[in-house]
């Protein structure tokens, strides 16, 4: 697979690889997406909008530059948003591979950071010199305004062009709680939603705070995905119950949706609406309780996203899918 190099997540000639329950593999144009569903199926998407979670600034004690990448929140409450976990880099920018980024200045609790119009204090270290909990010193409205004005979408060296917010918000993006875009959502546009509807396929959403996908540090990457907060609305739970009763499939649009639904199911069955904090990983030993099918971007073997796919298909099928992706020139994250 080739690395993606363009910021636009919605190329008109995009492809999709369909792997069915028997392991049969088809390479298809993405515009046939809706045709892969049967009437009575339910597609569940993550409607989290993505924050401009990369904030450049200065470590005030040393005067040295740094980049803070917001990485997590324990709650989705609008007023409870001053404290974030964050990954911190030293001087540099996204065009340098994260593996080669300079370390941050030596950080310790109580340090102050100037991040554009925002001030933050470092509350504690989270078991790694790059991973911290920080708290913004302003009202919630002022913090959102500061993030909106100064923040940039988190991005990586393989995409040189600076991303804008419209590059990282899917068509259904609603509440800004994700730290990186849940990428599978880019398969959706309003024509696809219309086609699903015309075909008798249900569509619902949940909101899941998709976290950062890579830090460039092996020890930190081994801790991914971090805990991710989510909100499961009542109409989505109702639609899942009705789809199940009618014999339809529950299709998760993206790994974040699978993680949230399976976490909610692990807490309580029958499923209940409400908020939760997904702490688990999905993998080959996961017994799926809700999700029948997953729509996913392509991910390299060994990543947590790829591990998640092992809950849905055998290693042999995934290996053949990987070969097909390679053969057809798919791009990976």
């Amino acid at each position: 697979m080739k690395a993606a190099t363009a910021p636009i997540q919605r190329p008109r000639d995009a492809r999709l690889l369909a792997v069915d329950a028997r392991g049969a593999i088809r390479d298809l144009p993405r515009h046939v997406f809706a045709d892969l569903f049967e009437p009575g199926d339910l597609l569940v998407a993550n409607d989290a909008a993505t924050l401009p979670a990369s904030l450049t600034g200065v470590h005030l004690r040393s005067g040295l530059p740094l980049e803070v990448r917001l990485a997590g929140r324990n709650s989705l409450a609008a007023a409870d948003m001053r404290a974030f976990s964050a990954v911190v880099f030293g001087a540099g920018h996204h065009r340098t591979r994260t593996e080669e980024r300079a370390p941050p200045p030596a950080l310790r609790p109580g340090d102050s950071l100037a991040l554009g119009p925002l001030r933050a204090s470092l509350r504690r270290m989270l078991g790694h010199p790059r991973l911290v909990e920080l708290a913004f010193e302003a009202s919630p409205d002022a913090v959102w305004a500061g993030i909106a004005a100064h923040g940039r979408p988190i991005q990586y060296a393989h995409v040189a062009q600076a991303l804008r917010l419209w590059d990282v918000w899917s068509a259904v993006a609603a509440r800004p709680i994700a730290f990186e875009p849940p990428p599978a959502g880019f398969v959706l546009d309003w024509a696809v939603l219309h086609a699903l509807r015309a075909r008798g396929v249900g569509f619902q959403t949940l909101t899941h705070a998709a976290g950062i996908s890579s830090t460039g540090d092996p020890a930190l990457d081994a801790r991914l995905p971090f805990d991710e907060a989510y909100d499961l609305p009542a109409p989505t739970v109702q639609a899942i119950v009705e789809t199940r009763a009618g014999g339809g499939r529950i299709v998760a649009l993206g790994t974040t949706v699978a993680r949230a639904l399976e976490h909610a199911a692990s807490v309580q069955m029958p499923l209940r609406p409400g908020t939760g904090l997904a702490t688990q990983r999905l993998g080959p030993d996961t017994a799926l309780r809700i999700v029948d099918t997953i729509v996913s971007g392509t991910h390299e073997s060994g990543t947590s996203h790829h591990e998640l796919l092992r809950a849905f298909a055998s290693d042999a099928v995934l290996a053949r899918a990987g070969q097909a992706l390679e053969r057809h020139g798919y791009r990976t994250h």
Partner: protein
Amino acid sequence: MKHTPLDSPALRVAVTGGTAGLGLALVEALHARGAQLAFVARDAVRVAAIARGLAGCHGIAADVARKDDAHRIALQVTAALGGLDVLVNNASSLGPVPLRALADTDCEDLEEALDTNLLGPFRLTKALLGALAASARAGRASGRRAVVVNITSDAAVTPYAGWSAYGASKAALAHMSRIWDEELREHGVRMVALDPGDMGTPLYALAVPDTDPATLKRPRGSALEILAAIEAAIRAEEVGP
């Protein structure tokens, strides 16, 4: 998630151009009715002053005419309100003042009017469409829609000489509203274009400086009519097929 007749504290509304004229009257009327509110305007000092006077109201300093501001506004609105049920695209530009004939209007002046009156509402609605559709999905069981109101003008219908950039851009906004309404109806989002009438506002005073304000509608009266129209659009019975 809570559901919302207009007088419920849970209705989440955003208003652009919220610090003067009709926009301010709408913000005050919605606040009095208990809506959760965010409003947008360019002057940060005035935004902060009005937000301070309306408890729980979120003021956002931004310019709807700027492409870069659309998603920043959407981010702050949905972050503050936890979603969005109603968007009122009210911010308007007259174009060149004193008003002048189309033939004497510079291209740049027409572009500026289009940026505020057409592209601004288009971009902001597009950036907030995910939140509005989420609101509609949540309200579907109770027959409640999400609503976008675009404030237009009789100058969008009648070709008054001199109301050139304004009239043309508002006509485009009115027609865009009709197209969008057709497209989004199945998703439970209604798009309504409303003409509030000739009001005694700073914008009208700029356009027609010698008008006696006593002969014009008061913005508060128009605001209450718009609230009634929003309520009707939210409660309309058929939501999608």
